[in-house]
C-alpha cells in the first residue's frame, strides 16, 4: 500500500502529517528510519487494542520500503516504566509480565508475519549512554520553565505531587526514549510527550520527531450512558495497551482471556452510533480484525469498513455480526 493510502485510512488514523511532510522529515537520514511504538502493560493481560499498533508499525515500514527507504520498525515494551506505576514488592512480577508481553508480541509477529524488532526498556535504560541522555534532557527542561510546564502536563493533575517527588522520572524516561526516533506511532494522548521531544529537537537543531496517532481505544459492552457520564473520553479514550485502564478490564478483549462467548456479548452490548464523530469501539474491533485478515491473506489494501458502515452500506446489526465473525476467524482462533 502506498504511504498516502495508508495514512488516509478512516477509523484507523487519528492524526498524521501529510505524506510529503513525512518524506521530507526522513530525507537525508543515513541510517534505517526508526519507526517506533512503545507500550507499558498491567497485570490484566494483552489487549486486542495493542495489536492495532503492531500491525500498523509493520504496515508503515512496508509502505516506506516501497518508497525506497530503509526502515527499522521497533516495538518497545516499557517494563521499567510499568514498574514505576506499582509498589516495589510488585516489581519482580511486573518485570516478568514484561517478558510475557514480549513473548506475546513475538507470537503475533510469527502468526501474522510481521517484521518488527522488539526491545525492552530494561535493555537500554541502565546503559551509560542513555543515562547521559536523560541527564541532558532533564537539564534542558529544568532550565526552561515553559518546558517544565509541558513536562508537568504529561502527568494527571491528581498525581502531580507524587510525580514531582519522583522527579518526573516516568516522563523523562519517555521523552528521552523517543528523542532520537524518526517516526513514532501512538495513541493521541502521547502528543504531550512528543511535543516536548520536538521542542528539545528544535533547540538541539536535530530532526524533529514525526508523530502519527491512531484512533483511541474505547471500552466494549457499554452503552451510551457510559459515554455520557465520561466527559472528555472522546479525546483520548482508554489506554490501548493497558487492559485495566480506568478499571475497565471486563470491557476489553484480552487475548487469551476473553472467550468467544464473552467477546460476542461485549460486541452485542456495545454502543454503536451512526455518527462518525462519536466513539465506535465495535468498529475498532472490526478494523483490527480486518488488519489481521489482510496480514494473514497477504492483502495489501486499505481498510474499507469505516466507509461501508458510515455510508450505510452495512447495518449496525450486520456490522456487529460480521465483526464478531472476523474477530474469531482472524484473531481469537489463531491466538487461543
Amino acid at each position: 500500500m502506498i504511504l498516502k493510502e495508508l495514512l488516509s485510512q478512516k477509523g484507523l488514523i487519528m492524526q498524521s502529517p501529510k505524506t510529503e511532510e513525512i518524506k521530507k522529515g526522513v530525507e537525508f537520514i543515513k541510517e534505517p528510519i526508526k519507526i517506533f511504538y512503545g507500550e507499558t502493560y498491567d497485570e490484566y493481560g494483552n489487549t486486542l487494542d495493542s495489536m492495532k499498533y503492531y500491525f500498523f508499525v509493520d504496515n508503515i515500514a512496508q509502505s516506506l520500503k516501497q518508497e525506497g527507504y530503509e526502515t527499522d520498525p521497533i516495538i518497545m515494551v516499557a517494563d521499567i516504566a510499568a514498574c514505576r506505576n506499582v509498589s516495589p514488592h510488585l516489581h519482580k512480577k511486573y518485570m516478568d509480565l514484561g517478558q510475557e508481553r514480549v513473548k506475546f508480541i513475538e507470537k503475533i509477529k510469527k502468526i501474522y508475519n510481521l517484521n518488527l524488532r522488539i526491545i525492552k526498556m530494561s535493555d537500554y535504560i541502565e546503559k551509560k549512554e542513555f543515562q547521559e541522555k536523560i541527564k541532558k534532557v532533564e537539564d534542558i527542561c529544568k532550565k526552561d520553565p515553559s518546558l517544565m510546564k509541558m513536562v508537568e502536563k504529561t502527568v494527571p493533575e491528581s498525581k502531580i505531587e507524587l510525580e514531582r517527588k519522583k522527579g518526573f522520572a516516568y516522563s523523562f524516561d519517555e521523552i528521552t526514549t523517543i528523542l532520537n526516533l524518526n517516526i513514532k506511532i501512538g495513541p493521541p494522548r502521547e502528543n504531550l510527550y512528543d511535543n516536548i521531544a520536538r521542542e528539545i529537537a528544535k533547540r538541539e537543531k536535530s530532526k524533529p520527531l514525526i508523530s502519527i496517532y491512531l484512533t483511541p481505544a474505547f471500552p466494549l459492552g457499554v452503552d451510551y450512558d457510559f459515554f455520557i457520564a465520561h466527559e472528555g473520553i472522546e479525546e483520548h479514550g482508554i489506554t490501548a495497551y493497558k487492559a485495566g485502564s480506568k478499571r475497565l478490564q471486563s470491557f476489553r478483549i484480552i487475548i487469551g482471556k476473553t472467550t468467544k462467548v464473552e467477546a460476542k456479548k461485549l460486541i452485542e452490548k456495545s454502543f454503536l452510533s451512526a455518527n462518525p464523530k462519536l466513539p465506535n469501539p465495535v468498529l475498532d474491533v472490526g478494523i483490527i480484525s480486518e488488519m489481521a485478515r489482510k496480514r494473514l491473506e497477504g492483502e495489501d489494501t486499505p481498510i474499507t469498513l469505516y466507509d461501508n458502515f458510515y455510508n450505510g452500506r452495512i447495518s449496525p446489526k450486520k456490522l456487529k455480526e460480521s465483526i464478531y465473525n472476523s474477530l474469531c476467524t482472524n484473531i481469537l482462533n489463531k491466538l487461543q
Binding site: D223, D225, A229, F271
Partner: protein, 386 residues
Amino acid sequence: MNIQEIAKKEHEEKLKLASEDRQYYADKMKEFGLKPMDRFLKYLPNPSTNMKKGITFAHKDFEIITKAMANKEPWAVVSGLNPSGPLHFGHKQVFDELLWMQQQGADVYIPITNDESYVVDKAKSLAESRRIAYEQVIPSIIAMGFNPKKTHIFVDSDYLDIYNVAMDVSKKTTLNKAFKIFGFNQTEKEENPGTMFYRSAVQIAQILLPQYPEFGGPKPVVVPVGIDQHPYIVLSRDVALKKSFIPPAELVMRFLPGLKGPGTKMSASVVGSSIYLTDSIEVAKQKIEKAYTGGSVSAEFQRKHGGVPEICPIFLLLKYHFLNKEQSDKLYLEYKGGKILNRELKERAFEYVSKYLKKHQTEMKKAKRKIDKFILKKEIKSILRE
C-alpha cells in the same frame, strides 16, 4: 421622535432584553453548578424535542437517568403543578417532556398541589382548587396521551398519605436549612406557616415519594424545573441522602414567557398572559392578536432590521410547541432577518394553536371518563410500621 426613531429605540431595548435573558441563564447555570445538555444530545439515541431545541437546556445528575434508561432499570419523573386555573401552554411544554420520558421508560408522578394553591392564596379555598384539579387540570393532562399504567396523578388534599411522607422527610431537615435555601425575610415572615411546611416538607415528600418502599424503593428520579425552582432540588437532594435514597436529578427548562412579553409568566393571575388549553378558538385568537412581539411598530423598520425572536412570545410559542428543530431554526432566521413580520407570525401561531385546541378539547371530554385509572391510591404504610 418620528416612527423610525421610536422603532430604533424599541429594537435596541428588545435586543438588550434578549441579551440580558441569555446572560441570566448563563449566570444561573454557573451559580447552581448546572451542566449543559450537549452530551445527551450527542449520545442519546432519541433525545427529546425540547432538548434538541434548547428548551431543556441544563441538568444536574441527569446521567443517573440515562444509566437507568440504557439498562432498562426503573426510574421516575416527578412534576407537580398548582391547580389555580386550567392548564396553559406554559404547562404543556413540561408535559411534552414528561411524555417523552414515559416513552423512554419512566413512571410519571404528577402531584396536583391544591394545598399550595390555597396556602399561597392562588385559590379561594381548598375546595375550589380541588374542583379545578378534577374538572380541568387532570382531564387536560390525560388528553395529552399519557399511559395510565405508568402515570400516577394525585391531588394533595385527597392523597393524605403525602402528609405522612411530609412528616417523615421533615425530620431529615431543619427549619434553618429551609430558611437558608428559600430565604426567610420580612415577606416570608408575614406568610402563614403552611407555606413553609409546603415548601420544606410537602414538596420534598412529592419529589421523594417514588423512592418509598411502596413504589419499589430507591431509584433514579428526575424533576423538570424552571431555573428558579432549583432550591427545591437542593433541599430534596439533601434529604434524599439522609434517607439513603438516590438524590434526585434535575432537568432545567426555559419557560415560555407570558403573552405580555419578556419577564412575564403565563399565569392565571395576569389577565391575557396565557393561552389556556381550555380557551375557545375566538378567545385564543384575541389573545394572540393582542400579544407582545419581538417585532417593531414600523413594518418598514422590521423589514430592514428584523425582529428579536429570542424574546417574542409568539415566536417562542411556535418554537416550543409546534415546530421541530429545523423548522424552528428556519423561522428564527426569517423573523430575525425581517422576512416575516408580526402579522404573518401571529397568523401562523393562530393556525397551529386553533388546530391544537380543537383536538385537545375533544380529547379532554373523553379523558374525563378515564380519570380514575390515573389516580394514585397506593397507601404508604411503611412509615407507620414500628
